[in-house]
């Protein structure tokens, strides 16, 4: 058994993070349970189109209650830390801005980069914890193997349970952050986690997984954007414009670019002989460009704001597999640096619906090479 450490456990009130706490407690570590209060779920409740009552969501009182009960059950100190201001600034505002610019954002990655593995690590250090443990499905390893191939770097790897793989959302972690992070569920499958939760007597062992974006109960992001802007006294900018085919022909109008995402088929509001898909969204011209399914395929993508994990630089083109959205099977590609903070990915086979605003995450087998934001 490793020597006991003081570990801050990020507790969301769900099965995964609760099981992490139970596992580390059983290993004899000194634990401090922390829940980040990120968003007031009642804040937009009752706004037009938003649910009146919100329960059972991240940061809801129910989840805090569940996390507190687990901490009490395990006999560990537990605190709720408030990061609502920072979450709004670094996650919610950019999320809204991205949609209004015609991109499709991933708030979970922003939250991981700016909140969970930044603010939480800061707090952990301030309160005397050596590291932070979370319930993410991923693995962290330090590569200090002997020999020439050793990178002497902290590595982020895909977990044993591929169906729960969360490395796509974690590509932004720095070496410093990885060095102080534990993912105890990396070697386990979800059924094993639930089984362990039952064995540890955790009352929430059967609690369903959360799926949607934590601050958007019901998952209707369009209504959320409306309600959010209305609440902050801002009018929804007019992003309505033309519906244009790939050959430049205007075939109709749309009610705002934020209502569309690349690859979308339904809700275009035009009837044509063959199925039409959103191929591209032009924020500058407020145009939604539509075309047939073939137009959705592309062999290349550019991405910026690069974070590298397993290597310190891309000195020459590298063979990798690239994942372009959460539910995408990584596809073989060549990765090369084309500017100081920009990369070009050339896939072996064209990929469907490469979407600006999403992340491209690069893998070498199980290891995350790095990632960047698709432009």
């Amino acid at each position: 058994m490793p020597s006991p450490k003081t570990i801050a456990v990020a507790m969301s009130g769900g099965v995964d993070s609760s099981t992490v706490a139970a596992m580390l407690r059983a290993e004899g570590h000194n634990l401090i349970g922390l829940t980040m209060q990120l968003w007031n779920q009642r804040r937009l409740a009752g706004h037009e189109g938003m649910p009146e009552q919100v329960t059972g969501r991240c940061c809801s009182l129910d989840d805090v209650y569940d996390a507190r009960r687990v901490a009490e059950h395990l006999g560990i100190p537990y605190y709720v830390v408030n990061h609502e201001e920072r979450f709004e600034r670094d996650v919610v505002r950019p999320f809204v801005a991205e949609y209004l610019s015609g991109r499709t954002p991933i708030p979970c990655s922003l939250c991981n980069n700016h909140l969970k593995f930044d603010q939480l690590l800061v707090i952990a250090q301030q309160i005397g914890a050596d590291c932070v443990a979370t319930g993410h499905y991923a693995r962290v390893e330090y590569d200090d193997t002997c020999g020439k191939l050793s990178s002497k770097r902290w590595l982020l790897k895909r977990p044993a349970d591929r169906s729960k793989d969360q490395t796509y959302f974690l590509f932004g972690l720095t070496q410093e952050q990885l060095s102080r992070t534990l993912f105890p569920l990396g070697e386990m499958t979800k059924p094993e986690v639930r089984e362990l939760a039952r064995k540890q007597g955790l009352a929430l062992a059967e609690k369903p997984d959360s799926q949607e974006i934590c601050f958007i109960p019901g998952g209707d992001y369009k209504r959320f954007i409306d309600a959010y802007l209305a609440e902050s006294g801002e009018a929804l900018p007019d992003t309505a414009g033309e519906l244009v085919t790939t050959s430049g022909e205007v075939i109709g109008e749309h009610n705002g670019i934020h209502n569309f995402t690349v690859g979308q088929r339904k809700g275009l509001g035009v009837a044509t002989g063959s199925p039409l898909y959103v191929i591209q969204i032009s924020g500058a011209h407020k145009q939604v460009i539509v075309g047939s399914d073939d137009h959705l395929y592309s062999r290349t993508l550019r991405a910026h704001r690069v974070n590298l994990i397993s290597v310190d630089d891309l000195r020459e083109p590298m063979r990798v597999s690239v994942k372009i959205r959460h539910r995408h099977e990584p596809a073989p590609a060549t990765l090369e640096k084309i500017a100081a903070d920009e990369v070009l990915v050339t896939f072996d086979q064209p990929q469907r619906a490469i979407t600006p605003g999403q992340a491209a995450v690069f893998y070498a087998d199980d290891t995350v090479v790095g990632g960047a934001w698709i432009t």
Binding site: Q37, R68, V80, N82, Q125
Partner: protein, 389 residues
């Protein structure tokens, strides 16, 4: 086992042993419903009325002017809702407890206007601001006596004169003042005043509202004719007995000069901290304060980390008000005083109770500076300033 020191008595206080002994028989031995006509009811009725006499003595009013409630929040709500009607104008302040602020927000929702007067940098309401806020339809002023976060005492005597001249009701939230300083409702000239048991070494779940004789008060809820038809519901006899005992102990304490002793203890804590730590100060330093409270800022730290770090070492303090999830919200009180938001976040509240000893203060004086030093070492802002100076 870690020794735990409790310096968060503005959140709640431990029930004193004498108080617990006084209430204990009313759980089993004397269990009657105070409204019953038989022996058991007579026993508890007498106990409730004795407690009423004690609370009335503490506030220098008549016993018939005391209504027992479930706590400070109910007392505040009863006064605010009970003394107003739709269409009225109400004056309160920006630093009130949520029990008053949110009750006033509710008034706004049902068709009242509320003016929230500001406070100055010392945390004090200016009585002239209250006077200037008066309108022809103003019916109620509700201003606290001692602020829960800073302990600052508001000029209620001057405000009482303004209310009397305008012939309108004056309610005081005295939850954080009762038992800490002597209160005389007749001298202040207020019409209603709230107190809470658990802030003065009685248990949680009991409080009282003084309402001046002859004041028309609408009840919050309907039921039996308890508390002279002003507060329906079977009396919480053990709680009420405890509140009465706590009131007696408070009065004995004033006679012995306990408040001065507590003030000396608080000042030693406050000065000891300031002597050891640079770039720190007391919020509300230049205003009169209750003797038990010190709100102190330490530049370049997060109060949140401070509270957690100290709790892990056995010292219980707070940053101010906590919300329902237990997360820490930015303090509306410190912000209203014009404190920079980083200083508001860098503030902690130390509040003493009758149980605290010199030794508790010694331990706090060791733990607080050590923790501030460690947190500042981790603060990038602090390092930068240290290099520059």
């Amino acid at each position: 086992m870690m020794r735990r020191i409790y310096l968060d008595n503005n959140a709640t206080t431990p029930v004193l042993p004498e108080v617990f002994e006084a209430m204990r028989p009313y759980f089993g031995e004397h269990f009657g419903n105070a409204s019953s006509i038989h022996h058991h009811g007579q026993e508890t009725r007498a106990a409730v009325e004795r407690a009423r006499d004690s609370v009335a003595s503490l506030l220098c009013c008549r016993s018939a002017e005391i209504i027992f409630t479930s706590g400070g929040t109910e007392a505040d709500n009863l006064a605010i809702a009970g003394l107003t009607n739709a269409g009225d104008h109400v004056i309160s302040s920006s630093i009130e407890h949520h029990a008053v602020l949110h009750a006033c927000k509710h008034l706004e929702e049902i068709g009242c206007d509320v003016t929230y007067v500001p406070v100055d940098g010392r945390g004090l309401v200016d009585p002239d601001d209250v006077g200037r806020a008066l309108r022809p339809n103003t019916t109620l002023i509700s201003i606290m006596l001692a602020n829960n976060e800073t302990g600052v005492l508001q000029p209620v005597d001057a405000i009482g004169k303004i209310a009397a001249e305008a012939d309108i009701y004056f309610h005081i939230d005295a939850v954080q003042a009762a038992s800490k300083i002597p209160i005389d409702v007749a001298r202040i000239g207020c019409d209603a005043l709230s107190i809470s048991g658990h802030k003065m070494h009685a248990p949680q779940g009991v409080g009282a509202l003084y309402v001046r004789k002859g004041t028309r008060l609408q009840p919050l809820f309907y039921g039996g004719r308890h508390e002279r038809s002003r507060r329906a519901g079977t009396e919480n006899v053990p709680g009420i007995v405890a509140l009465g005992k706590a009131a007696e102990l408070a009065m004995q304490g004033f006679e012995r000069g306990d408040d001065q002793k507590m003030c000396a203890l608080r000042d030693r804590l406050q000065q000891g901290i300031l002597a050891q730590i640079e770039d720190a100060g007391v919020n509300g330093d230049f205003a009169p304060r209750v003797p038990n409270t010190a709100s102190i800022y330490f530049d370049h730290i997060e109060g949140e980390s401070m509270v957690i770090s100290l709790d892990l070492k056995g010292l219980a303090i707070s940053t101010g008000a906590a919300c329902s999830s237990g997360a820490i919200e930015p303090s509306h009180v410190l912000t209203a005083m014009g404190l920079r938001s980083d200083r508001a976040r860098a503030s902690i509240r130390l509040s003493l109770g009758k149980q605290n000893t010199e030794e508790d203060i010694d331990i706090a004086l060791a733990l607080v500076p050590e923790t501030v030093a460690r947190l500042r070492e981790l603060s990038p802002v602090h390092k930068k300033q240290a290099v520059n100076s």
